[in-house]
C-alpha cells in the first residue's frame, strides 16, 4: 500500500465512522424527540409533572361578559315567528307535524322549552362566562336565567334526571397530526384553538319559540372560538344539533357575541319573559 493510498483509505474509514456516528445521533434524536412529542401529544401536556388543569391549559379565554348581536335569522329570533314558519330548519315529517300543532294561544305555558341547550345560544341575550373551578366553565344567560356547565372532567357523568341544559362534556379541540401514532419527521405539537362541547341528557325543548321542537334524543355539539379583530372582540359558537326524531338531518348554525366591558346591561329575565 502506497502512503497515498493508505491515507485515502484511512480518510475513507474515518469518514465512514463519522457518517455512521452522525446517523446514529440523528436516529436517536429523531426517536427521542419524536416519541416525546407523541407522548406529550397523547397526554395533552408537557412530559413531566401532573398535567395542567383545563383551566390552566386553556388555549383561548372565553370568560367575560358577552352580548348576542342578532345579524342573522333576525325575525325568527327577535320576534316569535308565526305558526308553521320553520324556514331553514330541516324538520322531519314528525317534527313538522309537531310544529304545526303548536298553539300560539298556549305559548305562555311553554315555559323554558325555548331556552334549552339546543337553542339557548340563539336567544337574544347576554352571557356571563367564568370558571366555576379548574375543570368546569359556567355559562349564565340573562335570557331565561339558565346556567350551563361545560365539564372537562371526564369522570363526571350525567345525572339521572334530564334537564334543559343537560350534561355537557367539554374539551379543547385538537387538530389531528400527520404520522398518526407513529413517529414522523413532520411530527408537530398538537394544535388547539377551539373549545368543543357535547351536550346530552336533555329535556325536549324548542329550537324556535313557535314550537319547532327537538326531542330528548338530541345531541348538541358546539365549538366556541374567540376572534379578536380590529374594532371588536367576538365569541362565535358553531352549533350542530342532531335529533334523529324531529330533524331529517343535522341542524347547523353559528352564533356570534360581542364582548362587553362589564355586566352593566345584564338583565335577568325568566323563561318566557322576552
Amino acid at each position: 500500500m502506497s502512503p497515498a493510498i493508505g491515507l485515502a483509505a484511512h480518510a475513507r474509514t474515518h469518514t465512514t465512522r463519522v457518517t455512521a456516528a452522525l446517523f446514529r445521533v440523528f436516529v436517536f434524536s429523531w426517536l427521542v424527540v419524536g416519541m416525546a412529542e407523541v407522548a406529550a401529544a397523547q397526554r395533552g401536556g408537557p412530559p413531566a409533572g401532573p398535567p395542567p388543569t383545563p383551566r390552566a391549559s386553556a388555549p383561548i379565554d372565553i370568560t367575560g361578559n358577552w352580548v348576542s348581536v342578532v345579524t342573522e335569522d333576525w325575525r325568527w329570533r327577535m320576534l316569535t315567528p308565526r305558526k308553521g314558519d320553520y324556514a331553514s330548519v330541516p324538520l322531519s315529517v314528525e317534527g313538522r307535524k309537531l310544529a304545526d300543532s303548536w298553539d300560539p294561544a298556549k305559548a305562555a305555558a311553554d315555559g323554558c322549552k325555548p331556552y334549552g341547550a339546543a337553542a339557548i345560544m340563539r336567544i337574544p341575550g347576554r352571557l356571563r362566562i367564568a370558571w366555576e373551578n379548574d375543570t368546569t366553565l359556567k355559562i349564565d344567560t340573562d335570557a331565561g336565567q339558565q346556567t350551563r356547565r361545560l365539564v372537562f372532567d371526564k369522570a363526571v357523568t350525567p345525572s339521572a334526571e334530564r334537564s334543559w341544559q343537560g350534561h355537557t362534556a367539554a374539551d379543547w379541540e385538537r387538530i389531528p397530526q400527520p404520522g398518526g401514532q407513529g413517529v414522523s419527521i413532520q411530527q408537530a405539537a398538537p394544535r388547539v384553538g377551539s373549545l368543543k362541547a357535547v351536550t346530552t341528557n336533555l329535556l325536549p325543548g324548542y329550537l324556535r319559540k313557535n314550537g319547532v321542537a327537538y326531542s330528548e334524543e338530541t345531541t348538541v355539539t358546539e365549538y366556541f372560538d374567540r376572534l379578536a379583530v380590529e374594532g371588536g372582540d367576538w365569541l362565535t359558537v358553531f352549533t350542530i344539533v342532531d335529533d334523529p326524531r324531529y330533524l331529517s338531518q343535522q341542524f347547523i348554525t353559528s352564533t356570534h357575541f360581542k364582548r362587553e366591558a362589564d355586566a352593566a346591561a345584564w338583565n335577568p329575565t325568566p323563561c318566557g319573559g322576552r
Binding site: E72, R75, D142, I175
Partner: protein
C-alpha cells in the same frame, strides 16, 4: 471520536430544533365546501324588498336600500356583475379553496377561493402589501391572509361599491372586510366582519357555514361579457336608472305586512341588533299608531357628514400604471395622465403651478424622452397651472415629420373655450400668462392626435363641468381621461360662470359610459382616470352616473311640486350620498351642488 463529538453536539441541537419546532403548518382548508343553509335562508337568494332586518345600516344605508329598484340589475351595465366579495360566501352554492404553492419550496403563496356565482379570489399568504389607495377596485377586492392559531384571518380592501344582500342593502367602496376561517373537522365556519363608514353604523358580523363536499366541484359560472347582455328593459335608453323616489314606499310594504315585522325593525340599524330591542318590539306591538310602525320615510332624522377621507396632502406625487402606455400621476392638484413611448411624453393636464418640479421628476421616472404634448381637459388652475413650465421643459416635433413643426416647447392643446377662459382681449389682463395658454385649439366636436403610435382623441363635451371640457380617449391603451366631469371625490362641480351645467354633466357621464367597454364580469376593460380620485372603470362611472341621475330625478320631482330651493335643500335630496361625496365646507359644498342642479333643472 472527539471530532465526532464536536460535530455531534451542534448537530443534535439542530436536529432537535428541526424535529421539535413549534407547528407553523396550516390547517388544510383546500377542497370543495358546500354551503349549509340553516340560517337566513330568505336572505341568501333573491329576497324581498324592504327586508333589512339584522343589518347595522345607518340612515344613509337604509335610505339607499329603500330607493333601490330591482329593475336596475337588468340594465346592460349590470347584467354581468358577479357576486361581490362582501356577499360571495352567502350565495346559494359551494365554494372551493385551492392552495397555490411555489413548486420549488413548497411554500404556500396563496389560496384561491371561489365563491358562489363570484369570481375566484386570491388570498395572498406571502406577505405582500395591499395596493395604493389610488388603485382600481374590483368585485373580489384585494385579499391577504395570515394564520392565527387555528384561524385563517383574511383582510380584504379595494372592493367596489356593492351590496350586503340582494335587495339593495348597500356597501361603499370604502368597505373593508376581515374574514376568519375556522375548520372544525369536516365543517368550515367563516366569520365575516365588514366595516363601512358610509353605510354602516357599526361593524357587521355574520357567520357562514360549510360542509366538506367530496362528491362535486364548486360550480363554474362560465363567462359573461358585454356581448352577452340583452335588452331586458324594452325602450330603456342609455342613462335610464331605475330607482324609487323617497315618497314611493309601496314596494317595501309587502314585507312588513306579510311577515308582521314592524317597519322600524325591518329597516335594520345598530339598535335593532341587541337584546334590549325586544322591549321596543313589544311596545310597537302594543301601540299600532306609533310612527315607527309606518313605512313612510319622512325627512332624514340625522346628519350624514362626509366619511370619505381627504386625499393625503403629502406634497408628493404618486405614480401608478393604469394600462397600456398610460400612467396616473396623482397629488399635483387634478389628476395627470401620462402616455410614454418612443416619440416622447404626452400629458393630459398639468396639475397646479406649484407642483411642476415634482411632476417633472415623476415624469422622468417613466421616460427620459421630451414632453411633446399637453392636452388640457378644461381651464381650471388645478389642471392647467403647470402648463407653462411643463411645456417649456418639452419640445415638439416627433419623428422629424414636417407637419410636427419642430421647435422648443411642447404643443398644448385644448378646446377653444379653454383659451377663451384663460386669455383676454388685447389691452386686458388675462387670468393666465400667455406661455400657459394652449398653443393649438379645436372648435369642433373632436380633435385627433397621434402620439407614440397610438390614436388619441379629444372629445368635446359641451356645457358640463365647464363649456370647454374635453374627454381624452387613448384608443390603443384603452384609457379614458375625463377631467372634472367625473370627480370621484366629490359631487360634480358645476362651474356655471364658465358655461357648466348640471344636466350636461349627466350627458358627459353617459358619454363616458358609451366610450368604455368592460371586460368579462363588468370589470376592467376600458380604464378611467377621473379628474380627482382613484383609478376607475366603467362600473364605477355607472355608480357615479346613477347617483347624479337619482339626485336629478328627486330634485325634478320636488320642483314639480313647487318647492323652493331652500325647501329642496332642507329635504336633503342627496342625503345617502353625502358621506361619500358631500361637503359642508370648502369651495364646493353639497348645498352649492344642489343649488346648481335646482337652477339648471328649473330652466327646463
Amino acid at each position: 471520536m472527539r471530532r465526532v463529538s464536536r460535530i455531534a453536539g451542534p448537530l443534535l441541537a439542530v436536529v432537535t430544533m428541526a424535529i421539535g419546532r413549534p407547528a407553523v403548518a396550516q390547517i388544510d382548508l383546500s377542497g370543495e365546501w358546500a354551503g349549509t343553509f340553516y340560517e337566513d335562508l330568505p336572505h341568501r337568494g333573491g329576497m324581498q324588498l324592504g327586508d333589512y332586518t339584522g343589518l347595522p345600516l345607518n340612515e344613509a344605508g337604509w335610505r339607499k336600500a329603500q330607493s333601490w329598484d330591482e329593475a336596475v340589475v337588468a340594465t346592460h351595465e349590470r347584467q354581468c356583475i358577479p357576486h361581490i366579495a362582501t356577499y360571495a360566501l352567502r350565495g346559494p352554492a359551494s365554494i372551493r379553496f385551492v392552495k397555490v404553492i411555489e413548486p420549488d419550496s413548497g411554500r404556500l403563496v396563496a389560496y384561491n377561493l371561489m365563491g358562489s356565482y363570484g369570481r375566484p379570489r386570491m388570498i395572498w399568504m406571502d406577505g405582500r402589501p395591499h395596493p395604493s389607495d389610488l388603485a382600481p377596485h374590483t368585485w373580489t377586492g384585494f385579499s391577504t391572509g395570515r394564520w392565527e392559531k387555528n384561524t385563517l384571518v383574511v383582510s380584504t380592501t379595494h372592493i367596489k361599491m356593492g351590496w350586503l344582500q340582494r335587495n339593495g342593502a348597500p356597501t361603499s367602496d370604502l368597505t373593508t372586510m376581515t374574514e376568519n376561517f375556522i375548520r372544525h373537522g369536516d365543517y368550515l365556519m367563516a366569520a365575516t366582519i365588514l366595516t363601512d363608514p358610509v353605510f354602516l353604523s357599526e361593524p357587521f358580523i355574520r357567520t357562514t357555514n360549510f360542509a366538506l363536499n367530496l362528491s362535486r366541484n364548486a360550480d363554474a359560472w362560465g363567462s359573461c361579457g358585454p356581448q352577452q347582455t340583452v335588452d331586458e328593459l324594452p325602450n330603456a335608453k342609455l342613462g335610464y336608472v331605475p330607482h324609487h323616489l323617497p315618497d314611493d314606499v309601496a314596494h317595501v310594504q309587502e314585507f312588513v305586512t306579510k311577515n308582521a315585522v314592524p317597519p322600524d325593525g325591518a329597516r335594520g340599524g345598530s339598535e335593532t341588533l341587541y337584546p334590549q330591542y325586544i322591549q321596543t318590539l313589544q311596545q310597537l306591538a302594543r301601540n299600532e299608531s306609533d310612527p315607527r310602525n309606518r313605512v313612510a320615510q319622512g325627512p332624514p332624522r340625522t346628519e350624514n357628514p362626509r366619511r370619505m377621507p381627504p386625499a393625503p396632502a403629502s406634497g408628493e406625487i404618486s405614480v401608478l400604471k393604469v394600462q397600456g402606455s398610460v400612467y396616473l400621476l396623482a397629488g399635483a392638484g387634478g389628476n395627470i395622465a401620462v402616455q410614454v413611448g418612443d416619440d416622447g411624453v404626452l400629458l393630459v393636464d398639468a396639475g397646479t403651478a406649484g407642483m411642476t418640479d415634482k411632476v417633472l421628476a415623476a415624469v422622468r421616472q417613466l421616460s427620459d424622452k421630451p414632453i411633446r404634448f399637453i392636452l388640457n381637459t378644461h381651464a381650471h388652475p388645478d389642471h392647467i397651472g403647470g402648463n407653462e413650465r411643463l411645456a417649456s421643459a418639452g419640445s415638439r416635433g416627433a419623428g422629424g415629420r414636417p407637419s410636427d413643426n419642430p421647435g422648443p416647447g411642447a404643443m398644448v392643446m385644448a378646446h377653444e373655450a379653454v383659451l377663451h377662459a384663460i386669455s383676454a382681449p388685447t389691452g386686458k389682463v388675462s387670468p393666465m400668462p400667455v406661455a400657459a395658454w394652449p398653443t393649438d385649439t379645436y372648435a369642433g366636436e373632436s380633435k385627433d392626435v397621434s402620439s407614440n403610435g397610438e390614436a388619441v382623441q379629444l372629445l368635446h363635451q359641451p356645457a358640463a363641468h365647464t363649456d370647454g371640457d374635453s374627454i381624452v380617449f387613448f384608443r390603443r391603451s384603452d384609457v379614458v381621461v375625463t377631467g372634472d366631469i367625473f370627480d370621484f371625490t366629490s359631487y360634480p362641480v358645476i362651474d356655471a360662470a364658465r358655461g357648466g351645467r348640471f344636466t350636461g354633466v349627466i350627458d358627459a357621464l353617459n358619454r363616458v359610459i358609451e366610450l368604455t367597454v368592460a371586460r368579462d364580469w363588468q370589470e376592467g376593460g376600458t380604464m378611467v382616470i377621473p379628474g380627482q380620485g382613484r383609478i376607475a372603470d366603467e362600473s364605477d362611472v355607472v355608480e357615479y352616473r346613477d347617483m347624479v341621475t337619482i339626485i336629478r330625478d328627486r330634485i325634478q320631482a320636488m320642483i314639480k311640486k313647487g318647492m323652493t330651493l331652500e325647501q329642496v335643500q332642507a329635504a336633503k335630496p342627496t342625503y345617502e350620498y353625502d358621506g361619500r361625496y358631500g361637503s359642508t365646507t370648502g369651495s364646493w359644498t353639497t348645498a352649492m351642488f344642489v343649488g346648481a342642479a335646482y337652477r339648471d333643472l328649473s330652466k327646463r
